[in-house]
Symmetry: C2
Subunit: 257 residues, 2 copies
C-alpha cells in the first residue's frame, strides 16, 4: 500500500484529496492517510476530520508528502517538516524543485490545469508534470501520479519553467483578450455571447491542427484595408497598442521583427 | 415556398449550401433553387450540377440572393446582377451593407463562425448576424436565417464592425498566442499537447463566467517575482514585448494606462 499525505487546504489540495479518495475507492493500492490544514475545519466537508491535522509534529510516516500551499509558502512549509530523508513534492508550476528543504528528498507533482474551489474536474484528464532527483523517487512519484491521472509525464524544472511561460501566453493572455473583446462588445451594445461559439471553436481547432496553420484574420491575410479600418475604430489607446503589436507579430509569424 | 440562391463556391457558400439542403429535407418551406459559381464543377460533389450556373444572365427569380464571395469581390458581383429591386445579402463581417449595389434591396447575412472547407459544422449552433434596410426585408431574412440557425440576431453595421474587431482579439489574436506558446514549448523540448486541456478549459470557462472574473496568472496576482523570472526567461524580443504589454494591460484591467 502506497501512503500519501497532502499538505494544504486550498484549490489544488482539495482537488488532490478528492482524486486520491476516488483512487482509494478503486482499491488501486493507494491510501491518503492524512491531510495537513492550518484550519482543520475547512476540510470537514471533504474528509473525516480525524484524518486532518494542523500540527507538523503529528504528521504520520508516508511514502509521499505533497505540499499544495501558496508558492511563497512552499519553502517555509517544507522547512517545518520534522522528519528527514522522505519524499516531499510541491505542486507549483513556477517554483524550482531546489527550493524545497534539504532535509528531505525533493520532487514536483504539478497538475497543469486551472482549478477553482468547488468546481468538479475529472483529474484523470489533467496532465501531471513530475520531477524527482533520482529514478527510484521518480518511480514512486509516477506510480502515484498514474493512479489519479492518465497524463503523467516527466518534466524537469527547466521544461516546467518554459511550460509556465507558455501557459501565461496561451491561457492568461488569451483570457485577457476575451475580456477586451467583451469590453468592445459592451461599448457597442452587442451581446458578447455571440462570440462564444467562435471562441470555443478557435480553442478546439488546435487540438487537431498546429496553431500556425489555424491562423486566420486580417493580419494573416495582410488585409491592410481591414486593419486600417479596425485601427480607426478602436478608441482606447491600450487596445490599439495591443491590436498593432499582435497584428505585426502575426505578420512576422511570431518571430523577432 | 421561400426561394433562395447562393452566389459563390468558397468556404461559406459550401456550408450555406449544405445548411439549406438540410433545411429542404426537413420540408421547412425553403428551397435552394440555384447556385452561382464561376467554376461550376467545383460544386459537383455538393449539389446537382444543373442547379449551378456560371452566368449572371441565367440567374432565376428568388426571394433572397446570398453573395458569399471574397470581401473585395462583393461590390463588383452585386453590380453584375441584371435584375432590380430584389433582396440581396452579403455574408461578410467587415463589409458595410451600403457597399452592395443600389439596384437591389440590401441586406447582410453574416454567420459568425470560422469555416474550413470540408470540415463539417452544425450550422444550427452558429450565430447569424442579420441586417436589412426595412422591417419587411428583415422579416424575410430572419425567416430564412431561423431555418438554418438557432441563433439568428439583428445586428446593424456599426455593431457588426465592433463584433469583427472583438473577434480579432478573441480569436485571431488568441490563436496567435497559442502559436507563441507552441514556439516556446518547441524551443524547450516540451510537448505542446500538455497545454491543450488547459487551453480548452480557459475557453470553456467564459461560457459561464465573465472573462474579467476568470482572469488568473502572475499579472493578475501582481506577482512581480514570477513576472521578472518570466521576462528573464523569454529570449525573443517580440515575445518579450507582447509579454510586457499584456501583463501591463491585465494590471490596468484592460484600460488605458
Ligand atoms: N490554482 C491552480 O489552478 C493551480 C494549478 C496548478 C498548480 N498550482 C499550485 O498549487 C499550489 C497551491 O495553489 P492553490 O491554488 O491551491 O492555492 P490556494 O487555493 O490559494 O491555497 C493555498 C493554500 O496554502 C496554504 N498556506 C498558505 N501559506 C501557508 C503557510 N505559511 N503555512 C501553511 N499553509 C499555508 C493555505 O492555507 P489557509 O487556507 O489556511 O490560508 C491554503 O490551504 C501553488 O504552488 C500553486 O502554484 C495551482
Ligand atoms: N471563412 C470564414 O470563416 C468566414 C466566416 C464568416 C464570413 N465570411 C465571409 O464570407 C465571404 C466568403 O468567404 P469565404 O471564406 O467563403 O471565401 P473563400 O473560401 O475564399 O471563397 C471566395 C469565393 O468568392 C469567389 N469569388 C472571388 N472573387 C470573385 C469574383 N470577382 N466573381 C465571382 N466570384 C468571386 C471565389 O470564386 P472562385 O472559387 O472561382 O475563385 C470563391 O467562391 C466573405 O465575405 C467573408 O468575409 C467568411
Amino acid at each position: 500500500m502506497v501512503k500519501v499525505i497532502v499538505i494544504g487546504s486550498g484549490n489544488v489540495a482539495q482537488h488532490l484529496i478528492t482524486a486520491f479518495q476516488n483512487a482509494e475507492k478503486n482499491e488501486s493500492g493507494i491510501s491518503l492517510i492524512q491531510v495537513f490544514a492550518r484550519k482543520r475545519e475547512s476540510l470537514a466537508a471533504l474528509i473525516p476530520i480525524q484524518k486532518v491535522t494542523n500540527q507538523f509534529s503529528e504528521l504520520l510516516e508516508a511514502d509521499l508528502y505533497i505540499i499544495a500551499v501558496s508558492d511563497d509558502a512552499i519553502e517555509s512549509v517544507s522547512s517545518e517538516l520534522l522528519f528527514k530523508n522522505r519524499l516531499v513534492a510541491h505542486t507549483s508550476g513556477s517554483v524550482p524543485l531546489t527550493l524545497l528543504n534539504n532535509n528531505n528528498r525533493k520532487a514536483v507533482f504539478y497538475p497543469l490545469q486551472s482549478f477553482t474551489k468547488g468546481a468538479a474536474v475529472d483529474f484523470k484528464t489533467i496532465p501531471l508534470c513530475l520531477e524527482a532527483e533520482n529514478s527510484i523517487d521518480f518511480q514512486m512519484l509516477s506510480k502515484v501520479g498514474k493512479l489519479i491521472s492518465d497524463h503523467a509525464t516527466a518534466i524537469n524544472s527547466q521544461q516546467r519553467k518554459a511550460l509556465h511561460v507558455a501557459a501565461v501566453f496561451a491561457n492568461n493572455f488569451s483570457n485577457h483578450l476575451y475580456q477586451i473583446a467583451n469590453d468592445i462588445c459592451k461599448e457597442n451594445q452587442v451581446p458578447f455571447s455571440i462570440l462564444k461559439p467562435l471562441i470555443q471553436e478557435t480553442a478546439k481547432k488546435i487540438v487537431a491542427i498546429d496553431p500556425e496553420q489555424a491562423q486566420t484574420g486580417p493580419a494573416k491575410r495582410n488585409d491592410q484595408i481591414t486593419i486600417d479600418a479596425h485601427e480607426a475604430f478602436i478608441k482606447d489607446d491600450n487596445q490599439l497598442k495591443i491590436y498593432k503589436l499582435l497584428t505585426q507579430s502575426i505578420q512576422h509569424n511570431g518571430k523577432k521583427l
